[in-house]
Every structure is written in structure tokens, then in C-alpha cells.
Assembly symmetry: D3
Homo-oligomer: 325 residues x 6
């Protein structure tokens, strides 16, 4: 059941035999004469494609719902300027590596983890121990490395949280030198941990659906609880902990945006600005990359910006990003 053909490589005329995809969306339709069919959206980490399944067996119809891994057989056909899959068989996939199914960061995970370790190594103690325990050593480390940074707005792909985190860490280190009075260790720890609660906010097994913890507690409060718990085990100094917790709690900037308290320290203000900056740029490039059109402007409005965006000259949606320092 290993992945053989990626959506980015499909061409009309290809045959698929039990190829794994994520069933991102599925809608039941009925034709006039009563023939049921399924309209599906299939995804892997390279993109998404439509699929039509006529004469669906009842068994399939019972289990098919968004967020599952599936094995697809059928033929790639072309219609107008788009290709689609005419599905002849659909089975549920189990025990597969989800990162092949979900849209994923175009940066290599190994490279990003190396950057993460470098940022952690730059911290003085006791900061280094705390951050390393949470992000590199603890039981959360793996989920952290795979999680998206958001469900749809920005960095909404496998590894997106890690990509967003290391980009912010690099910015934090630069800005701590650019401005006076900045406590570099505090700011960098805040940048590395600010979204750690997001490791528990989405359920990758269901296509980034919000988890119960994400719905009921939210990543800000969950992040604080995780950090308080880790700090208790490490005898982390209380005053520094309070400062760090303040950065987590306030990083959305205002109550309207979900922070129960506003930033009140220099590092908290900086962290909020860095987060805003990196998520806005991420959201800009994601929207341009996901928009199907080919003109100078995106065909759809960005939800984040409320307007249509202008594609940067030379933009290539499949190129590897280059946002390391």
C-alpha cells in the first residue's frame, strides 16, 4: 500500500490500482433516473483532484466520509483544462503513513528539525532544558513535528507548525538584536513554544478536523498547561515561568483574536508581531498557491485578507521554499 503515484504527477490516461489518497471530501448525488454516484475530492501531499464514482456498491456507501484514507482504482481522464479520476473501486486504507495523504510542507522535515535543534541549542539555561524537554524529548515531540499550524488560514499542512515555528525563531533571534532591552532567551523560548498546544488541536487522522481538546480547551490554554506541567518537573524558576506563560497567553494580541490577556511586556509585544508577520506571509503564499487561476490576480478572495491577491512574479507553487536564514 505504499504510495506510487502522486497527484502532482498524474496525467490523463494513467491507470490507478489501489493507490492511497486522503478522501478529503465526499458528496452523494443521485441522477434523474435514480443512479447514485459519489463526487469526491482526493488529496495527497502534492495537491488535490476530483474523482467520480458511478454505481457505488452499498458497502462503500456506508463507510465513506471525509477524513479517511482510501485506496483508489480507476483511470485518469481529462475534461477541459482539468484532469479527474473515474473511480472503479474504492477501499478503506489502514495502517498507512498519513503524511503521504495530506498536503505537506515543501521543506524537508529533517532540515527543519535540524534548525529547531539549532534554535534550542542557542538558548541559555534553564530555558534550554524546558524547551528541549517539550519539543524534542517528550511524548509530544512527534506530534509537534507533524501538526499543521492552522486548519485553513496559513501553514495548513503537515509540518506546517514546525515550519512556522522555525521561521519565527529565526526572526525572533534577529529582532532581539535589532531592538534594545529584549531578553533573547525569553523571546526565543516564546517563539518556539507559542503554538505548542496546536500539536493537540487538530486530528490528522481526520484531515485536520479539530480535536475535542481543540474545541473545548483551545491551543492557548492547552499550551500553558503543558508548559506549567513541564516546568513543575524541572523546577523552572517561577518568575521566568510567569513571563513565558504571559507570552503564550497573549500571543494573539487582543481578546478579540482569542488572547485572554493583551501583551504587556516588550517580548510579548514582539512575539505577537512576529507571529502576525509570519502567519500573514504564510497565508499570502498559501492562498496564491491554492488558487487555481493563472492570471495576475487570484480568482478567489483570501479569507485572511478579504481581497483578491496579486501573484508575485515568478511564483512557483511547487518550488521548495527558502525561508531559512
Amino acid at each position: 500500500m505504499a504510495k506510487a503515484k502522486f497527484i502532482g504527477d498524474l496525467k490523463a490516461g494513467m491507470e490507478l490500482a489501489g493507490e492511497p489518497f486522503l478522501l478529503h471530501d465526499v458528496v452523494r448525488r443521485q441522477s434523474k433516473d435514480g443512479r447514485p454516484f459519489l463526487l469526491t475530492t482526493l488529496r495527497d501531499r502534492t495537491g488535490q483532484i476530483s474523482g467520480v464514482f458511478w454505481d457505488v456498491p452499498l458497502a462503500v456507501d456506508v463507510w465513506a466520509r471525509p477524513g479517511l484514507g482510501v485506496l483508489v482504482s480507476g483511470r485518469v481522464t481529462t475534461y477541459k483544462d482539468a484532469i479527474q479520476v473515474n473511480i472503479s473501486d474504492l477501499n478503506r486504507a489502514n495502517g498507512i503513513d498519513l503524511t503521504d495523504f495530506l498536503p505537506a510542507s515543501r521543506r524537508s522535515r529533517a532540515e527543519m528539525l535540524a534548525e529547531l535543534r539549532d534554535h534550542v541549542a542557542a538558548l541559555a539555561e534553564p530555558w534550554q532544558s524546558l524547551v528541549a524537554y517539550i519539543l524534542l524529548e517528550g511524548e509530544l515531540a512527534e506530534r509537534f513535528a507533524a501538526a499543521p499550524a492552522a486548519r485553513s488560514m496559513h501553514h495548513a499542512y503537515v509540518g506546517g507548525l514546525l515550519e512556522h515555528t522555525v521561521s519565527m525563531a529565526a526572526l525572533a533571534r534577529h529582532l532581539a538584536r535589532h531592538y534594545d532591552y529584549v531578553n533573547m532567551d525569553l523571546l526565543l523560548s516564546g517563539a518556539l513554544l507559542h503554538d505548542v498546544g496546536k500539536a493537540l488541536e487538530y486530528s490528522l487522522g481526520e484531515g485536520f478536523a479539530p480535536s475535542d481538546d481543540g474545541r473545548l480547551v483551545g491551543h492557548i490554554v492547552r499550551g500553558v498547561v503543558l508548559i506549567e506541567h513541564a516546568a513543575a518537573g524541572l523546577d523552572f524558576p517561577e518568575d521566568a515561568l510567569q513571563q513565558l506563560v504571559h507570552l503564550i497567553v497573549s500571543h494573539h494580541g487582543t481578546q478579540e483574536w482569542g488572547s485572554p490577556v493583551a501583551p504587556k511586556t516588550l517580548e510579548a509585544v514582539l512575539l505577537h508581531q512576529i507571529d502576525l508577520l509570519d502567519s500573514r506571509i504564510g497565508g499570502f503564499l498559501d492562498h496564491v498557491g491554492n488558487d487555481g487561476g493563472a492570471g495576475a490576480w487570484t480568482t478567489k478572495r483570501s479569507d485572511m485578507f478579504g481581497v483578491e491577491l496579486r501573484r508575485p512574479p515568478g511564483f512557483d507553487r511547487y518550488a521548495r521554499p527558502n525561508n531559512q536564514e
Copy 2:
């Protein structure tokens, strides 16, 4: 240094000899010919009064600032329809019972604690153990019983948090019967614990000034951390804990009002409504009680309601409230 004369009982002509008060506010002024004087506001639990101190000794001038306990000597004078204190001597007070200095609930603490115990006793396990541990037995219990529910908006007096909590608990028990499908234990636990973080949000020693924890973390997140910590010690079931944390996190109702997530369960919606109801009624009666005027309408706008309020017929600002069941 025990309290002998309360502000509610002062009359023109009385002499004060080292009487303890809270120095709620102090402003330095200089007369035209260079004589410095202090304009002060003195408070005890029965109200507040202005005081003027001419020819202030330099020593006094150095330490006098809002939020301290002071011992006042002088004479009560009358001017127009108001009395004031002409201060002849002012000393710092130490080691005194702050509850004599701050505005305090007009309900007796013993009575409210009895109600609190009754509400806790009404809980099934494991809820009862958790709530009892936090509110009755732990190191926080005493601070909880003395804290105000807010700095200014409603129940802004010693014991206000307890008064607000037992009123809400009584409402929660009634509404859990009035509506279907309500989990009484969950709702009542949420009502009892929803503001527990406020026990650490204000500094009574400085006239309800916000503490560092209140400024940097806030009572919602602090409350969750306290509950998670207590639950960890008691092996509280994870699912019930998540539901309870949701009630704490969402009880302000919207992000604009400081809740990082919105209420999403029946009990969370109810708790927010009960909190809104009890704080609005509390804020109404506090504003009417604090407004100096005597007409049918308050002379000042309520910050909470944005309008002047109509005094309820028969309203007596010194009467003991009767909001127990």
C-alpha cells in the same frame, strides 16, 4: 490598633486618635503660597470619606501612596452635605486585619461559607472531592473567601467573590432542574470554580490592585492551571476534567470578553448566562449603592450599563442583602 470607629458611623465633631483606615487615594497639592497639602480618600468596609492633611511632615510625604493601611488622628468636620476629616497626624499601619479597611460584603462570611459547604455537599463524587479540595481545604481557601469578584464592576469588595459564587451556585442548582439534559454536577462545579483564579488576581494589600499574576496570566488561565493541578493529584477522570475546563475557559462567553473559546456545551452556555445575570444584577445594585445622589436616578452613568440607572424604590444601601434561597 483595633478598629474603633467606622466611616458609616462618623459624625461632625468626632475626634479620631490613631484610627485605622485604608489610604485608598492620595494626591499632593500645593497652595499658592507654597504650603503643601495632601488630599486623601480614606476607606473602611463601611464606606469612604475625604481627608485633608495640611503641613504634612516630610517623613509622611515620602511613604504615603494608595493602597496602604494608615492610622489617622484628627477631627471630623462638616462642610455642606458632606463630612470630611481634617487630619492632624498620619502613620503607617502594620499587621492589621485588612477586612476592616476595605469595602466588604454586607453578608456575613460565616453564613456564606455555610452555604458554600452546602453546595459542595450537594455534589456527587468525584466532583465533590475536587471542589472541596480547591475551595475548602487547600491553601487557596482563605484567599478565595476574602477576594473581591472584580476591581470595580461588580461585587468589588472583600468577600465579593464568595458572595457572587454562592449566589451563582444557587442559581445553577435551580436552572439544572428548570431545563432538560443539564448535568447538575458539572454545572454546579463550574459555578463554584469558574472564578477561582480571581483569588490570585487582586492584591488586597494594595486596595484590589491587580497582582502580577492577574496582569500577566489572568484569572481564566490561572483557574485552569489550579484545577488541572488539583485534578492530577486526585486522579480525576480526564473526560470530566475536559468538560469542566471548558466551562472555566468559556465562561466569559466570547473572545471579545476574554474567553479564548466560546461556550459549546449546554452547561457552558448556562454557566455563561448565570455569570452574566448575577454580575449584571450585582453591578446594578453596586452602582446604585455607590452613587452619592438621592434622586430617582443615579447622578453618574454606570460604566457597566453605559446609562444612568433608576434607584429601586425602598433601596437601602446599608441593608444586608438577602440573596440566599
Copy 3:
């Protein structure tokens, strides 16, 4: 033309012969080869179901529009997890009892009216005469008993206004004892009359479409005019009338929510809070009940709360509510 089969009882394979329903929605579609068909939504008080009508006679096509009573012949078929009606004949229904067609309160009207009379009987004079005249004796009484409390948000069904009113009246009586200084007669009269203008706001004959009066005048102003008119006939004391009118005018709480003046008396603040509480709980349960899904969370966002809601354990959408005291 009496109602024989209710939607809640339909099963695949049943035949319908001139069964009355409300034609809640109707859309015209055309197939590729030019065959017109109608997609309809049929409603009765137990729920709603889709219906498809092929080969529609021109005569039907002319009169069919949302909000009419219709007589349906055809067969109940099953497709996937849903049943639908394949319509073979459709006629306009006249002179039928609309309450069989519209979603209706699951509480019995007789029971609710008994509660209403009990609440009115609890009022002292002159309040009792005024409220009784408007709600029990006058020409409005019947419309009041049948009206919904809203078009979609909460208690949006036949008898919903009555159900909301008696629930609020019970809460008002409880809260008038819970808090000091509350004028019970004023508050209870306000609770009973606050939405009386809604008896004229919707047109039941058109599926709760807003009436001209609802669109142009609105239930708040219409309610005041009705009360002022009744009071003029009863020589109701002017001062008490002004207080009561204030409760009607301000019960939405703020101008943003449609009240031309904000609540300024204790009873007006209480009434607004009770209304908010009861409509939020009603809206929560309505949304959970109307959501088609079966998981722990509703599949759709609630318009009222802006989020998906968690179904209360044990929730049964067909059970009779139990919100009497």
C-alpha cells in the same frame, strides 16, 4: 383532509394518498433533456422530508410556492440513509388546521395555557387585569397561543412563543425571590408580555414569513402600542404603565440588538437577562435537534452561537421537554 401520517412515522414503501403537508420550500429544475421537475421540502409538525415531482402538470407549476398547504400523493422511497417522497400528485389544500403542518412545540398547548393562567393568577391588581385582558381574553389570545417565538433562531415552531413565555415567567418568579428589591408584579407582567407583539410578527399561513407589520413596525413597538391601547381601556395607572412599557422597549438589552432604549431599572435588567438565558438555551436545544448528524458534535455551525455545538449526552430530539417547574 385530516392528517393521517406524520413525517416522524414515515417509512420506505409507504403510500401517501392526498396527505396534507406544508410546502416549506420548492425549487424548479430542468433535466438535460428538458424534463421539468420540482424539488420540494415538505413539513409537518413532526419534521421535514424532501419530495421530488417529475412531469409536473402545468397547472401545478403555476400555483406552487413556499408557504402553502398541499395534499401529496406518492410513495416513500429510500435512498442512502434518508427517505424521500416520489410525488405523483400534488394539490392545494384549503381549510386545514395549520398546526398539523408546521413544526410545533412538543409541550401540550393545554398544559402550557394552564401554566400561563397560573402565572396570571399570581399577579396582584391592577397587573392581573391588564395581562389577562391581553393574553387570555382579548382577540389576540388565540394568535398568541399559536405563534412562534422567532422565525429561525429559537422556539421557531407553533406554540414556541407560549412555551418561551411560560418558561420565562417561571424564571421571573424564582429570580424575584432570589434578589432583593425586585417588584415581582412588574417583572412577571413584563415576562408575560415582553414578546406579545410577536403574535402579529409572523404569518403562520406562509410558514412563519414575516408579516407586513413585523417588517415595518416590529414586535417591540407593536407590543407597546397593544399594551398602551389595553391600558387606556382599563384606566391602568400611568406610572406603572411607563415602567411596564420600559420593560418591553428595553428587553433586547442594547440598541445593537434592537431595543431603542437600554434597560435602566432593576426589573428591566432582569427581564433582559431572563430573555437572553431562555432564548439561548432554547436556541441551543433547537440547533442540536435540527442538526441532521449523529456524532458528538453538530455537523453545522449554529447561527446563534457561531460554532458547532456538542450534543448533550442522552439527547432525544423527539422527547417532550420538561421545562416546567
Copy 4:
């Protein structure tokens, strides 16, 4: 007790002997050595002036409060670029014509009433009878002619409501010709009656303080009740009445601005726009006229516009306006 000297004519050195003014504001102050004094603001229809009263007799001190008519004796002194009154005696005035005390329209009332009658005469029946009954013949007519249009924002002076009304009526007649499909009688009746409830909203005897009716019911709802009552006596057609009531109810334009329903007819949209236009221009000129400065820009921000305003070249705050057609 007739008015002899107006504020607009006062000059340093003049003596006042029992001259009537409105006591617009009064603040009690105490000097360092305990001498009480009153700082007052005196008003008549031509403007306002400060007054200082040293060695106030106790009797005066008891009754003096804002909103009373007073008889002032003393001397006009000059200090810097402003004159003030050094008060030597102050007595309560009774039975005097309040219009001499309050700021008043600079247009003559007779002239404005003539315009009002002309506008009413332009109406066809049954509109003419209804409007004439309410504004010209009924018991409200006199209050209508004297009332201000607002407490502070625009036309906040005696006769301001009348001035605003006739200006709007003239605009309504012009715009009904400028645009198609406008029902002139409906629009003009709405313009004439839209603020009729304001005749009861302020208490002239207390310096435009809001009346109980203004606070509890508000001019929009009161206006509708007045019109419904008058219409009932005149057998006014129900449909036209509903249209007219819609104009009253919606003339603030949105719920945020206090209209329980939004404008939904062409005439309602027009009326709201005319009201907005005339009150904005009135508010602009009032702010410029009331601002004490002499530069190109007002020294204070306008509450209505949120910015400082530029004085129109040639602006003369004492000239009679010329906004008739």
C-alpha cells in the same frame, strides 16, 4: 422679573440687579482657609457666562442645583479675554418665561410656525388632518414649538426641534420632486412628525434634562404612540398609518443608532438621509458656534464628528440663520 440684560450684551462694569438667568451648572468649592464658594455657569438664550459667588449664605447653598431659574445680583468683571459675574446675591426665580434663560434658536418662532403651517397646508388629506391635529392643534403643539431637537448634539436649543423640522420638511418637498416614485404626502408627513416624541423627551424646566419618559420610553416609541392615538381618533386609513409608523420607527437608520427596524421603503430611506443630513449640518454649525476659539480650526473636537472642524469663512455665531427656502 422680566429679562433686562442679555448675556450677549454684558460688558465689564455693568451691575446686575435681580437679573434672571438659568443656573446651568453649579459646583461647590472650598478655599484653603475654609471659605466656601460657588462656581456657576449662567445661561440665557444668547449665550453663557461664568459666575463666582463668595460667602454663600447657607440658605442658598441648600437649594442651588443645575436646571433652576435664578435671579442674580452682582457686577460684571473682566479677567483676561473673558467676562464673568461676581455674584453678590442669588435667589430662586419662579413663574418666569424659560425661553429667556435657555439657548434659543436664532430664527423667530413666528416665522418658523408660519413655515410649519405652510408645509402642513401642502399635504393632501387625510395626511393634513393628522399632522395638523398633532402639531398645530393638540395639547402637544406648544411643547413641540419650544423643544430642543437634542440635548447636546445638534439644534440643542429652545425651538431647535421646530427649526430642524421645518428645514427637513423643505428638503423633503424638494427631494420628492428630485427622485421618482416618492409619495410626497407620506414623506412630508414623516419629516414633520419624525421627532414629535421629542416634545416629551426633555424637561425644559431643568435645562434640557431628559424626562422620565425620555429615559424609559424614548422619543421614537413615544412618537408612535402619539400618532397611533391621534390616528385612532381620526379614522386614519390603516395602511397609510402603517407606512407612516414605519418612517418614525426607522428614521435613525439602523438598530445601532436606535431604530428598532431598518428603513425598508423608499420614503423611509429618504427620511433617514434627510434627517442625517440636516442634523449633521446643524451639529457642524453648533459646534463651530459654541467653540470659544477664534482660529481657523475649532479648539475642541466635535463629539459628533470626532475631529476638530474648520470654521467656515465669514462665520458669525450671532447671525440669524437663513435656512428657509
Copy 5:
């Protein structure tokens, strides 16, 4: 390729042979058996109609996109209460007069231009030269006369900007007489030039799509640049220019509505109010005219007003408007 048959005149059974239309919208669909078809919306200045194109040649499919002129062959068929075009051939149209394709003002352009010239002639120098240069003589004049005033909200048709401008100019002249202190030349120049930047904001060749300049610069800033440029060539007095630029910059009234500075002069406040008034009335009539329904109320909510609107009695969507003086 001249226009022979207008949509307003089409009847079932007519044959079209290469008739020019604007291809306003085009959607590709595929039938169950794989037959592709195009669903189109065709427009000319008299309205819009749906068109279906079966068995689309590949060549057509490549170029067809919204905003092009097309030549349509086919037959008008009738289905239910609507007519549509069954397209048999579709070709791209070049070199045609776009004003026949787009919805257009129902007022004659010659008549509106005569009014425009009359308004310009009413200006004193140097205003007259500046306005005449920009609107009548310069290279922009033709685009100004054809542009719409908005993409969808109001006056969204060819000539709409001119129609809106002359209506506002007439109102400006009237209001400059109605109120005191108004500089007629300044206000009238502002009314004539306030939206001049809109001549460059939309691309008529693409069905009012926003131009790059409209997206990146916007009509307010573009308008100022155009006026500053023209003024530089005419030695227009600096002070008057600054006043005029203020009117352009502030005419949306607030920053929320897109004006970088708020109105601060009497003329700027007036201009904003006139613009609001005329665009609201225009938007009201446009919505009523575009709504397909036939009842007393529009079937759709107006985006501008947020509610359904009541059709004025006697409203005729095809009649020529009469909003000249």
C-alpha cells in the same frame, strides 16, 4: 455586427443569428454521460438572459470566459416563467460598441451631458476651467461619460457615474442655497469631481472588472492625482486646491468606509451627505429593479441595506428615470 435584438425584446421562438452580447458569466458542466455543456449568462444594456450551449466545440471552450463580447446564434425557448437561449453557435466579437452589451443608464447620454455642461457653466473661475478641463475636454472625458459608478452597489451600469454625478450636482446647488455659509463653487466642483477616479477604476471591456489601478490605487487617490496634475497645468490657487482635494479625500465620510481623512469643512460634510443620499436612493431603486420577484417585497436581501425592500407602488423597472430638476 450591429446590435439587432435586445434582451428586453426577446420572445420565445425568435431566432438569433450572430447577435452580439456580453458573456457576463460562463460555467462548464458535464452531464452524467460525459457530454460537456456551458451554462452562460448573456447581457446587453437592457437586461440579462441565460443561455445553454450543448456539444461545445473545443475551440470555443478554450477562449470562453466572463467579460468578453460574443456573437450568439440559436433559438429563444421558453421554460416556465423564463426564457432562455439554446445556443447553437458562439463566436468571439471584436471591435463592437460595448455600451450595447452592458447594462446602461436609462437616461440618454446626450441629455446627461447637457446637464453636466450646465453645471460646469454655473461655476465661477478658476473652478470652471479646472472642472471643464477634467470632465469635458481632457482625455478622460469619454471614459468618464461611460463608466459605472460602482461594480454592484448602485448606478452599476454604463453611464452610471455620469448619472450619479449630475444628480449630485443638482442636489449640491440646491443645498448650497438651503444652508448658510456654503461655498457654492467649492461644493459644486467637489460634487462634479468626487468620483472622477472611477473613470479608471473599472474595466468596461471585462464587464466592470476592477482594473489594476482600481485594485492597487483606488478611485479616491487616483482622483486626487488627476486633479493635482490638472491644477498644476492651470496654475490653480493652492489654497482652493487643498480645499477641493479635502472634499475628494473625505467624501466616503469615515476611514471605515475608505476615506483616509474625515470631513472637516462644511462643504466636505455636505458632499459626503449628498453622496450617501444619492447612492442610497440609487441602490434602493437598482435593487428593486434587479430583483426578479413580483410581490410587494423583493425576494432577496439588498446587500446595501441588509434587508428585503418594499417595491414602491407603480414601480416600472424599464421606465426612464426622471431625476433631473
Copy 6:
């Protein structure tokens, strides 16, 4: 009239003889016995101090108003923890270097100009010529180097605009490398020119009072006009100009914050974020520096952040900043 003693160096007991200051604020007061006095705030670039002037000569009283340069004679006295000036003579200062009077950047102008030139030199053509012409060579260059970046929020001191600009330019160069697809020349030009209109927005001669151009046109629109004018003289490519103008027009981010269009290109989004970041950090440090208190928290709320801020450990309000790279 050269500056001899700076406020930062004043000590009790010093004598001032015709020392130049900015008269930042002046209030007239009258003592009980009629003695007029002036309360003043004096400023120079090192800070501000209060001054009291008894027995003011009439001549002085006539001309004294905020925003003038003055020559002060008198003695520095000490009262409590603050020093003040007892003024014995006050004269108007003419022909003096204003930068000695106003609060000024603590960075040296020469150093900042060197950085500015370095940033300009980093630009490719044609960007370099355009930016150099406007900021370094043209008639605006000197005003640009002296202007504040705002009236009160951030960088509100002489040279503040330059300090803010070079800080942003350094950030822009860093971020153009951090993210992909960024046009470095466009972004850096935008950073350097984004606030160029502010060179005309404030009147330094009146203590940063807004100029007529600032009030009526605003710095965004004025900046665009300046750039368009310069570009016309340099034959700057039209397309690049449109991109640059977009950056200026949109740099406030939303209409609510004063940008008539929202950012729609990658560089516009980045520029807005950089501006937000640098002004927030500037505003944080300014507020902490201006707050008189000495505790861990500022005594006053920051207008920019809406809360009290925590002083960074080691913060020194007189130290030279170090925000160059």
C-alpha cells in the same frame, strides 16, 4: 539666545536667565483673591518641566499660547520628588533652532542620515534615483530629517520619522532575504518612502500641531502626490510606480486604520507588517520612557496598547538606542 541649560540637567537652586524653551502647554488660573497666574509646561529636547508664573504682566498674557518658543528667567525650585521653575520673566523667542526645544531622537542625526544614504545606495535603478531625489536631494529632504513620525503615539520627537524610517529599511532588507519572492527594491523603496508625506503633516513651529495639509489631505495621499510628481520628472516606469504607490496607499493595512485600499501584493503585506512592528515597539518604549513612575509597571495606560506596560529590566530612558544593525 543659544541653549545653555537643558532640562535633563536642571537641578534645584539653578538660576535661568533668558533660557530658551518650547512653551508646550499653558493654562491660565486665578487664585481666590484674584491674582492671575500661568501654569506652564516647558520642553526642550531632553524632557519637560513645569513652570509657574505669578503676577503675569498683561503683555505676556496676550501672546502666551502653546507651541511658541520662549525665553525663561527664574529659579529652579524643588518640591517633593519633582523640580519646577518659578518664572520671573517670560519673553517670546524668535529665530531659534527649534530642535533644541522639542523632544528629539536620542540617535545622532548624522549617523541616521548615513544609514539612510546606505539604504538608498543599496537600491538598483530606477528606484535609487527616485528615492534619492525625494529624500536626499529635493526641497523636502531637510523637513524629512527633522519631522516626528507621529504626534503622540510613537517616535513623536524631532528626527523620529528618520529614526523610524531607517529602522524599517533595515528590517525590510532582512525580511526580503528571509522570505521567497520578495522584490527587494520595491520593498525597500516602500519602506523608505512610506511616510514621506509626514514631512508635511506636522508643524514643528507649533509643537507638532497638525498642519492644514495634515488635517485636510493626510500623509498618505500627500505622499502619493509627492511621489507621482517626482516620478513624472524622472520618467519612472509606470508599472513600477503603480506598485510603489500601492505600498504607500495600503501601508496602514485596513480602511479602519486609514488606508483607502488594503495590501494586495506580497511587498505591501510585508511593508504593513514591518510598519506595525516598528511602530508598536517604538510606542512601547516611548510610553515606558515618558511614564513618570518608577515601579515595575507604568502608572498610566498606554493609549496604543490600552493597558499598563511592564518596564523592561534595565530600562534607561536617557540611554541612546541601539537599533542599528
